[in-house]
Symmetry: C2
């Protein structure tokens, strides 16, 4: 059975909910970052699909072709990280307009970069003509113990990887015609936290999401999936240099992980191993009026990141 | 290692070959209808992706929205049939322009129809905004003994399922503004030959393809993959009522199976079980100047079906 309630708000989610309701029992396991499919010999396959459309999910003038395809595939791989699955391959379907054909090699190289970062390979693809560049990536992973959005309990600690706010700052500067300088790399070359997720799963985390829609928005997704609340202390949220707290809380295009854990995680071991911060930023609470309550800072209006508005 | 030679001719294949060469060892198993991915516990996962783009792969004025999404998903499922894999699920990524939103329920119903025909379920999806309707379907299957394009030997019999030519005849009539009458159903509602493929795999076939690009074109793909030739007797090719031999040989949009087998297949048992013809139409030969030699009928210029020209 698919748990429609696990999906969040917004027009895109409404449309997805409508389709899932129409599908009834034909739709299975949708609502997590990736589906878990049981195979005959006992493997648990984790699968997810993600599309990046020119002008909707990326602006060609902000990125090189190699960065565009890298980001598309890396974003899809991040859904495997959110499930703590080890990648076994990707399939890439590209709609390639005539005007993009001269960039084919660069697009291929960006895909290669992304599978290299995740230590995986390309297992299939499709190339179509069309009027806008579009890259649809299916990621396949294997896991012995999948982690999903559900599993958090009241009192669990909430942790986040990395330092937040650089991609959103880069997007804002790019839209203002400025050079994003030190913020650009985190926007143009996000790193799916694959190995980090496998480590975290081995330490007994109860749930995980990636925060591609922004910390507060995705924390809200995780809270909704569990029928619980999340209280975040804004003062604890790790920020990239000179990033405003609002941006760190709501900025999208992050591919860090938000996890809940019933016990203290060994932060020093994690940070030593991955050279990446792991920070406790809150706690799982009973359900409240708002799924996510932010304390510890005077913050403006917080909202999730809408890909459609890029 | 990926066998670039297994891909056929044409601009689309050239572009794919270019990417695969660029990817080197990062690309694995591409060239068959679907990739076979080995999983930790011993499962053989079969995966493939296929995209249908408005105005390129289908014309909205020829089909209902429900038929458009049905065909997109059924075509992808046919790649599992070509590998004799049993579907374990599909993932559907839809790019949905504003003007298509009112058809969302019909599109959902067509996807449901296709998974019902293949006795499978929807395991994930993605919905994006964009300027043209596009449906990218990833199909996942499991198999204990995958069948690919390679494996044919000289002297193997060549069989085809079904009766050919109806979809291409329907397309021709539609492009001439005529009503395709009895030909329409085979074009609008192609049936992936999933159960038939599993039966054939159990009877020791040596190779298989679906003939979505047309009998002669896909026979050429199979011949090329094996470094051999195929001789077809046109007089034996089963045709839909009142279809010209040229159309049966070269018409695309078929989702029948072409298989090679080292021994006689039990045609009566197959036909009794599936209410579908299984016809011996040729033999595997040494490589000749042309990969496919057609005898037994005076035929015009034969060429594969180009999706881009629809």
């Amino acid at each position: 059975m698919t748990d429609v309630g696990a999906l969040g708000a917004g027009a895109e989610f409404d449309a997805i909910r409508l389709m899932i309701e129409r599908w009834g029992t034909r739709a299975r396991g949708i609502g997590d970052d990736a589906a878990v499919v049981a195979l005959p010999r006992g493997d648990a396959l984790v699968a997810s699909v993600d599309t990046a459309v020119e002008g909707k999910h990326f602006r060609p003038e902000w990125l090189t072709p190699r960065e565009i395809s890298y980001r598309a595939v890396a974003a899809a791989l991040s859904d495997l990280a959110a499930m703590a699955a080890k990648p076994v391959g990707v399939l890439v379907a590209i709609t390639l307009p005539e005007r993009w054909r001269e960039n084919l090699i660069e697009l291929a190289d960006g895909i290669a970069d992304a599978v290299d970062v995740a230590h995986t390979t390309i297992r299939g693809g499709n190339l179509s003509d069309g009027s806008e560049l579009s890259i649809t990536t299916t990621v396949l992973g294997a896991t012995f113990k999948p982690v999903g959005r559900k599993g958090s309990r009241i009192g669990d600690h909430v942790y986040v990887t990395g330092r937040l706010g650089a991609p959103a700052t880069a997007v804002r500067m790019l839209s203002e015609g400025k050079t994003p300088a030190q913020y650009r790399e985190r926007f143009a070359r996000p790193i799916p936290r694959i190995l980090e997720a496998v480590w975290l799963a081995g330490r007994g985390i109860s749930a995980a999401v990636d925060i591609s829609d922004g910390l507060v928005a995705d924390a809200g997704q995780l809270a909704a999936a569990n029928g619980l609340g999340i209280a975040l202390d804004a003062a604890l949220v790790p920020r990239f240099a000179d990033v405003a707290i609002d941006v760190a809380l709501s900025g999208g295009e992050e591919y860090e992980l938000l996890v809940t854990a019933p016990t203290d995680l060994d932060v020093a071991e994690f940070e030593g191993r991955f050279a990446l911060p792991l920070t406790r930023i809150g706690v799982v609470t009973p359900m409240a009026a708002e799924p996510v309550v932010v304390t510890g800072a005077r913050v403006g209006s917080l909202h999730g990141y809408d890909h459609f508005s890029v």
